[in-house]
C-alpha cells in the first residue's frame, strides 16, 4: 500500500534521492524546493508523511513545521525534519511538532535513515516514541556552521526585540519572514502571516496605496512616508522597502514603523495650536509675545501686526523696550518692568493717532517663566480704552453738570424765597409806613403848635424831646419804606470809584471826628457798571457808617478795594473793627437785626444793602472773625441784563390805590 509523501528541500540532490528511494517502495512522492511551494501544495494535498529540510530560503523548516502543525487537516501527518545542522544546534524537534529528525550526513546514510523513518511512520512504529535524532553520531561538528548559527541567533534576538516591524516577502509578494513586532502589528499569528500576500495584510485605501506603490518601479527609496502613513490593523504605519537580491529574483524587506502615537500627538498639538491661533486671532486687540532676551517677536496676532508700527514682518521683529508706537513718553518701559518685578504689569498711555485724535491704550504685560523661574518670554496685549475713557469723562461731566444744575436750582430757590420774603416785607413796610407817618404827622403838628404858645421852659424841653422822637420814628419808617419798591430803578453807567468818593465826602466830616481813615485801593481801568446811582450810593453809605460804628477804638481804618472780575466788578469793604460773632454772621442781612445799642441802629442798614445788591443781580458776602474786623465782598455785574422790573408793579398799585391814608 503506497503512502503519500511530500518532500521539502532546497537541495535538489536530496530531493531527488528521497524521491527515488520512496518511489521504489511504491509510495507517491511530491517534492517542493522551499516552504512557500510546500504551503501551496499543502493547500490541496494531504500527505501521510512530510520531510522538511530545516535550513531553507524563504520560510525556514522550523516555521514550516509550526505552520503545518497549525493546519487542522494536517494534524495526522507524520512530520520528519531533515537537519544539516543537527550537530551544531541542539534541536528539540518534538517541540517543533515533528515526529522524527534525521541528521543530514552522507547520502547513503540518509537513505538508511529515511527507510527507518518509514518504519517509524507505520502504525506499529508510531508507538515507539523517540527523541533521538537519526544519524546524529554519523556527522561531525563544523565550527563555521556553529558560528553562523550563533550569529543567526543574535540576529533573531535583535529582530525579536526590535520595535520596528521587519517583514520580508518573496518576489511573488508572499510573506516569508516577520519579526515579533511585525506579527503584532499585523495582528495575525505568524504561521498565518507567513505565505500570505504582503498587500493583503492591508485593507481598503491602504491596500490600494501599497499595491500601487509595489506595482510601480522598484526603486531603493520606495516607501510610505510619515506624511501619508497607511493603516495597518488600525495603526498608522510607515513602510520602507529594501530590495534583497537573491536566487530566483529579489525578495523585499519591509521595515514597518508604527507612528500612530506620534501622529496622534502631532495631531493633538496641531489642534491645540490651531485652537490657540484662533484664540489670539479672535482678539480684536493687539496681542503678541516677545522673547525676554532682545524682545524679538515670537508670536503676534494680525491685530498686533496691523496696529503696531514695524510689526508687519514679525515674528522675528525686535520691539524696542519702550514700544516705539507711542509718541507720548511712557512712565516706564513695560518689558523691563516685567523682567525686574517678574510680575504682570498694567499701564496706560495716550497716543496721538494719525488723525490727531488722542487714543488711550491700556498695556498689559505678563511674564512667562522657565522651570528655573527665569523670565523667558513676555506677553503683551493692548486694549484701546479711548471710548471707555470718553464714556467715563462724559459720565463725570454729566454728573458735574447735574450737580451744577442742582446747585443753581438751590441758589435760585434760596433767592426766590428771599425775594418773596423781601416782597412781602416791602409791601407790609410800605403800608405800615404810611399808616405810621400819618399819626406821627398829627402828633408832630400839635407839638409844634403847642410850642407857639407861651409855655414853661420845662414843657418846651419836653416838646423838643417829643419832636426828636418823632424824627427818629420817621427815620425808621422811611428806611423801611426804601425797600417797598416804590423807587423807580434808574440804570446808568456808573463809575464806582467816583460814586464812592462822592458818597464818602458826605460822611467825611463824621469820619474825621471819629478819627477813621479811609484807604482806597482802586483797580486801574475798572469798567463802569450799569446801576442805579442813588441805590448804590445808599449801599456805600450804609457800609461805611456800619464800619465806622464797628470801630470804637484803636486802629480805625476802612479799606476799599476794587478789581475787575469775570463780567463785573468786585468791591471789598474791610474795617479794623470788632468783627462779627460767628453765631450772628448768618443773620446780619436779616431785617431788624442789629448789634447796636437800642436807639442807635434801625436793623435795616445791611438788609437794605443786601436788597439793593440783589436788585442789581449782584452778590454780597461777609467774612469776619470776632475781633479781627469784617470784610464785605460785593460783586456787581457790568450789565444788568435780565433784571426784573420789580419796582413798577408796586408803584402802579401805590398811585391808583384808593386805600384810606
Amino acid at each position: 500500500m503506497g503512502k503519500k509523501i511530500l518532500v521539502v528541500d532546497n537541495n535538489p540532490m536530496v530531493l531527488k534521492l528521497i524521491a527515488n528511494l520512496l518511489a521504489m517502495s511504491g509510495d507517491e512522492v511530491r517534492a517542493a524546493s522551499d516552504g512557500l511551494s510546500a504551503l501551496d501544495i499543502l493547500k490541496s494535498y494531504v500527505p501521510d508523511l512530510i520531510f522538511v529540510d530545516l535550513v531553507m530560503p524563504n520560510i525556514s523548516g522550523e516555521k514550516l513545521c509550526r505552520i503545518i502543525r497549525n493546519m487542522p487537516h494536517l494534524q495526522g501527518v507524520f512530520l520528519v525534519i531533515l537537519s544539516a545542522i543537527a550537530v551544531e544546534e541542539e534541536l528539540d524537534f518534538v517541540a517543533l511538532g515533528a515526529d522524527a529528525c534525521i541528521a543530514k550526513g552522507s547520502l547513503s546514510n540518509l537513505a538508511r535513515h529515511v527507510a527507518r523513518v518509514l518504519e517509524l511512520a507505520s502504525p506499529a512504529g508510531r508507538q515507539e516514541k523517540s527523541r533521538n535524532i537519526l544519524g546524529l553520531d554519523e556527522v561531525a561538528t563544523r565550527e563555521i556552521t556553529r558560528e553562523l548559527l550563533s550569529s543567526r541567533k543574535h540576529f533573531e534576538i535583535i529582530f525579536r526585540n526590535m520595535s520596528e516591524g521587519i517583514l520580508e516577502f518573496a518576489p511573488n509578494r508572499k510573506i516569508i519572514f516577520a519579526n515579533l513586532a511585525a506579527v503584532t502589528l499585523a495582528g495575525v499569528p505568524e504561521e498565518m502571516l507567513l505565505g500570505t500576500d504582503f498587500t493583503e495584510i492591508f485593507a481598503g485605501h491602504s491596500l490600494e496605496t501599497v499595491g500601487a506603490l509595489l506595482n510601480g518601479p522598484a526603486t531603493a527609496s520606495r516607501k510610505i512616508s510619515e506624511d501619508m502613513p497607511v493603516l495597518l490593523n488600525g495603526r498608522q504605519v510607515t513602510l520602507q522597502f529594501l530590495p534583497v537580491a537573491g536566487e530566483g529574483g529579489a525578495s523585499t524587506i519591509v521595515i514597518i514603523h508604527d507612528v500612530t502615537t506620534r501622529k496622534q500627538a502631532e495631531e493633538k498639538i496641531g489642534e491645540q495650536n490651531s485652537f490657540l491661533t484662533k484664540l489670539i486671532e479672535s482678539l480684536p486687540h493687539p496681542f503678541f509675545v516677545v522673547g525676554a532676551d532682545g524682545y524679538q517677536v515670537v508670536l503676534a496676532n494680525s491685530s498686533a501686526q496691523r496696529h503696531l508700527a514695524g510689526l508687519a514682518d514679525c515674528p522675528g521683529h525686535v520691539i524696542p523696550p519702550a514700544a516705539d508706537a507711542c509718541k507720548a513718553p511712557l512712565p516706564y518701559a513695560p518689558f523691563e518692568r516685567v523682567q525686574q518685578t517678574k510680575k504682570s504689569c498694567l499701564m496706560e498711555y495716550v497716543e496721538q493717532g494719525q488723525d490727531g485724535q488722542e487714543i488711550t491704550h491700556e498695556i498689559h504685560t505678563h511674564p512667562i517663566f522657565d522651570k528655573q523661574g527665569k523670565v523667558t518670554q513676555i506677553i503683551e496685549y493692548r486694549l484701546d480704552i479711548t471710548e471707555r475713557k470718553k464714556a467715563e469723562q462724559a459720565l463725570r461731566d454729566s454728573k458735574d453738570e447735574l450737580q451744577k444744575a442742582l446747585d443753581n436750582l438751590q441758589v435760585a430757590q434760596q433767592v426766590a424765597i428771599r425775594q418773596e420774603k423781601l416782597a412781602s416785607i416791602g409791601t407790609l413796610a410800605s403800608g405800615v409806613a404810611h399808616e405810621i407817618l400819618n399819626p406821627l404827622n398829627i402828633i408832630g403838628t400839635l407839638a409844634q403848635v403847642m410850642q407857639l404858645e407861651k409855655i414853661p421852659a420845662s414843657m418846651r424841653k419836653n416838646l423838643d424831646e417829643m419832636l426828636a422822637q418823632i424824627k427818629r420814628a420817621t427815620k425808621i419808617t422811611n428806611n423801611l419804606r426804601t425797600f417797598s419798591h416804590q423807587h423807580a430803578f434808574e440804570v446808568r453807567l456808573i463809575d464806582v470809584h467816583a460814586l464812592f468818593d462822592k458818597t464818602a465826602a458826605l460822611l467825611e466830616h463824621d469820619l474825621n471826628l471819629d478819627n477813621v481813615r479811609v484807604e482806597r485801593h482802586y483797580a486801574q481801568g475798572l469798567p463802569r457798571i450799569e446801576a442805579d446811582e442813588d441805590q448804590l450810593a445808599q449801599v456805600f453809605l450804609n457800609l461805611v457808617s456800619n464800619a465806622r460804628d464797628a470801630m470804637s477804638s484803636g486802629d480805625k481804618r476802612i479799606i476799599v478795594e476794587t478789581r475787575a472780575k469775570d463780567d463785573g466788578v468786585e468791591i471789598r469793604f474791610s474795617d479794623t473793627g470788632v468783627g462779627i460773632d460767628p453765631v450772628e454772621i448768618g443773620k446780619i442781612f436779616d431785617p431788624f437785626f442789629t448789634t447796636k445799642d437800642p436807639g442807635h441802629g434801625t436793623g435795616l442798614g445791611l438788609w437794605i444793602v443786601y436788597s439793593i445788591i440783589e436788585n442789581h443781580c449782584g452778590t454780597i458776602r461777609v467774612e469776619s472773625e470776632k475781633g479781627k474786623g469784617a470784610q464785605f465782598v460785593i460783586f456787581l455785574p457790568t450789565h444788568l441784563q435780565g433784571r426784573e422790573e420789580s419796582g413798577s408793579a408796586e408803584e402802579k398799585q401805590d398811585s391808583t390805590s384808593g386805600e384810606h391814608g
Binding site: H434, N438, T445, N478, H487, S657, G658, E659, G661
Partner: protein, 124 residues
C-alpha cells in the same frame, strides 16, 4: 382890618386838619377844612381860597384827581401837597399836575410857613 388870606386844608384825617387850622390861625390866615375831595371842590368853588394844602392818598377822589379838577375851577390856586407817600420823581409828577410845592409828613411847620410866606410875598 385887612382881609385874611384863605387857606384850604384838605386831608381825610380830621385831627391833622384841626391841628393845622390852629397853626394857620395863629400865624394870621383864615383856615378852611375839607376832609374829602368832593367837599374840597365845593369849598374852592364857594370860598375861593388863595392857597390849598392837599393830601394825596385819600378815599374817594384822591389828590391827583382833585388837582386836575381844581385846576379847571381856579388856575391861580396855590397848591401845597403834604403827603406821607414818598416815591421818586414825585415832585416833578406833582408839578406836572399843577402842584406848586411838596412837603412830607410829618410836617415841619417852619417849612410850611416859609412856603406859604414865599407865595404870599410873591402875591403882594
Amino acid at each position: 382890618m385887612k382881609k385874611k388870606i384863605k387857606i384850604l386844608v384838605v386831608d381825610d384825617e380830621y385831627a391833622f386838619c384841626r391841628s393845622l387850622k390852629i397853626f394857620l390861625d395863629k400865624i394870621g390866615f383864615q383856615p378852611l377844612i375839607a376832609t374829602s375831595g368832593e367837599h374840597a371842590l365845593d369849598i374852592v368853588r364857594e370860598e375861593k381860597p388863595a392857597i390849598m394844602t392837599l393830601d394825596i392818598r385819600m378815599p374817594g377822589l384822591n389828590g391827583y384827581d382833585i388837582l386836575q379838577k381844581v385846576k379847571r375851577l381856579d388856575p391861580d390856586l396855590f397848591i401845597i401837597v403834604i403827603t406821607a407817600i414818598d416815591v421818586p420823581n414825585m415832585e416833578e409828577m406833582l408839578e406836572h399836575s399843577g402842584a406848586h410845592a411838596l412837603l412830607h409828613k410829618p410836617i415841619d411847620l417852619q417849612k410850611l410857613s416859609d412856603t406859604i410866606y414865599g407865595f404870599v410875598g410873591h402875591l403882594l
